[in-house]
Amino acid sequence: MLPGFFRFIYELFISAPQPPQTRPTFWNEIFPTVGLVNIVVSLLLMLIFYYLINHVLPVAFFKKAWHWALFMILSAGINLWFALYYCGIKDLEQNSYIWSFAMVNALYGALFYIIFSFLFRRWSRGASTTPVKF
């Protein structure tokens, strides 16, 4: 079920894996692992931003929208790197497909971070209205 879900969300933006011979590797190993790591990483970054920096620690200045955006870019960056790194582990040669997959993964890194932010921000003591109040 989960491999199917990740395959679906990645293939919304990119074609089926290329070259075709790598499809089982992508579908059964790379998409689920990288996707799951993506969720964990963006969740972790969200937790660090809202609940470590702006809740537990007495930091009052790091709650602006652009601070929050910094963490979003960090999430995208980490997920871009991890996608490339994990494809390397799986002995795949670098090609344009792996790069577009990494880019899409970065996009989802940012997206998951945004979704988690809006889901969980309200209990943060210091940043419950970051990035925007509504």
């Binding site: 079920m1 075709p20 011979q21 790598t22 499809r23 969720i39 964990v40 889901l119 969980f120 209990w123």
Partner: protein, 443 residues
Amino acid sequence: MTHTAPHYKRQLPAILAFLLLFCAFSCIRKNIKKEEAQDKPTEQPKTAAAATSAPASTTINQVNVFLEVSGSMKGFMPTNKANGITEFQQTIDPLLATIQQSNTIQDKAYFEVREKPYPIDYNRLAQTVRYGIQQAASSTTIPAILDSVITNNPDGVNILISDFIYSPENGRAISFVSTDIYRVLAKAKQQGQAISIFGATSSFNGTFYPAVKSTQKTIVKCCDSPIPYYVWVIGKPEQVQLFNREVVKNTFPEEVHAGFTFAAPAYSVLDKFLPAGAWYCASNSNNCHEVAVSDLQSPLEIIVGVNLASLPAAFQSETYLKQNLKLAADNTDAKITNIYPAAQFKTQAGVAGKNTDPLKPYTHFVKLRMSKLTAPQTDLHFSLANQRPAWVTQWTTLDDSQINEEGAKTFNLAGILDGVERAFGAGANNSIFDVIINLRKEK
């Protein structure tokens, strides 16, 4: 109290979200574990099968060597030393020595075949091979020799060295040859024996006794052309295979086999080498026997590695494989376009420079091409036909009375082989192996 209840309610979605993620993560872990668990039982039988198919016996109890010493063999082992030694002597003397010294064989016995087999020790037999037949025996018919050879030592390996020139006493009907051979060897087949026949030619320096005596009964001071001789190895299939592998090796240029059942070779589709078109391996295990086809916009090219190391050398030759490895499948136009021996495949453009470790288990690589699949799925059958080798026909003559003009041929060799094949049920319809690759359209 009134304050805490709504606070708790407000936290609920967050807790739920956490639980959901936790569940998802643990589900994935379980799935991976399940897949591992599923993979293991499918692989274990394979390794077990590989272990049992490997020859269990590493020794042969008893090897009996029968050397025909009739007058017709004297030309291979001449007594006059003027002309140097014949190829027969060059080949058979070291072969006998290898048998005598082999640690694989526990007991060795040697026989000279005159009107019947007479036991003789190794040294005396080697003397005969080296320095010629002193007293030629009157000739014996091949079926009679074969019969005594087979009944003598049914559990060991019997080696018969002869020129196999055989004409039935009523020389007019050559089809009797195959019937006679069939009758004798049917007994060997019943006893679960198999047969390997090795052929070679040798210079011949003596009197030739043709099977067809229409013009002359003997040809003295023969021959200008080489004369074929044969080594028949008869015994239990696994022991004959062991003997062939350990002792015979590549001694003889030609060979033919009957009565063996060969274990299916290890094989796998290799998706990392020279793939073309939209397909991928759909097997879960390491050996890919299932291919999924995504689309057929461009023709597919697939490389299949096979390990033929356990087959006799004759079946492994590139020419034999190219002629006799057949691909049969319904609803597709899949064809074998090339067969590469391992060394050649590794030098192909697109393979050279890559990590060739995945190629190690295989001795040959078959390239197939297809552009059509009209059913949701189909099985590609790769079978190797047990075809009679071409040399048998080339070495056959139906009139050896003018052997100098005929060249290196044996009277009615094809007829003898007919009898062998009939006895063992071998022949063109008989395939050495049949392996399947399942091809299906991607769902």
